[in-house]
Amino acid sequence: MQAIDLKPLMEGAVAEVLEAMFFIAPEGDAADETARFEADWICSQLEFTGHPSGSFGISVPPQTAAMIAENFLGDEDSSLTSAQAVEVIGELTNMVCGTLLANLDSSQAFVLSPPRHDGDWFPAVSGDESIFTALSLDEGSIHVWLRIQASI
């Protein structure tokens, strides 16, 4: 299986997590939004080891991060800090990656590194081992990438 074959699974994992714990339903492709990337976007990424191993990341505009964090924590806008929004995007990254890996192979255990927030919005890689997708949300968009290091 090549990474590009995982794109539907990745989009399904994003939708499953957003709908269950963030009360957000993705509204379709948002590839056009990637051109609007700016330095203040919140980028979270982690490494996973198992079968396969690789890295995974999520990037969102700040207003989208705030909406996601508010929905998750149940906080009002006024009480939410930017640090909380960043932390929640990290947890979202953890859950989407874990869901994707579990849906890929439910028999094998995997290890996820703690999410970090100094990553690129999308690593400068190309080829069959990396995929990218962008989905529209009620407010803004979510940009998700996966990089496979080991063959699957």
Partner: protein, 127 residues
């Protein structure tokens, strides 16, 4: 019956959500304390009388599996009921954690109803 609960997760946001869902599911808690990893959890357990531990797996310093090994090897913690809450739903992981004494498993993402059901099963016979 009210329970003393320890929530172990490296995400403060997730700990807050679990705490909130416990309330929404009608679960009666007397004490609800938190820890960010296994090391902090053991420190809490040494000071507080805890009945139920909710633990994540992937955490820095000491992960959930290592925490469960420590709990399983400590006679004073034999009474603890451990519920794992994790993104890892693999059969391999569940087998290992069950062998270590996990009494329940909730996979992220989850909804309050799922957590409530797991708690009902976990505490059946305790009341």
């Amino acid at each position: 019956m009210a329970y003393n609960v320890l929530i172990v997760d490296d995400s403060p946001g997730m700990r807050k959500v679990i705490r909130k869902m416990l309330g929404q599911s009608g679960f009666d808690t007397d004490l609800c304390v938190e820890a960010g990893d296994g090391v902090e959890a053991l420190a809490v357990l040494s000071k507080e009388r805890v009945d139920i531990v909710f633990t994540d797996i992937n955490m820095p310093n000491m992960n959930g599996e290592e925490l469960m090994e420590r709990i399983a090897s400590t006679p004073e913690y034999k009474h603890l009921l451990v519920l794992v809450i994790s993104t890892d739903r693999s059969e391999e992981r569940m087998r290992r954690l069950t062998a270590l004494g996990a009494k329940g498993y909730v996979t992220k993402p989850f909804v309050p109803r799922t957590l409530g059901y797991a708690l009902t099963k976990l505490t059946a016979g305790c009341a």
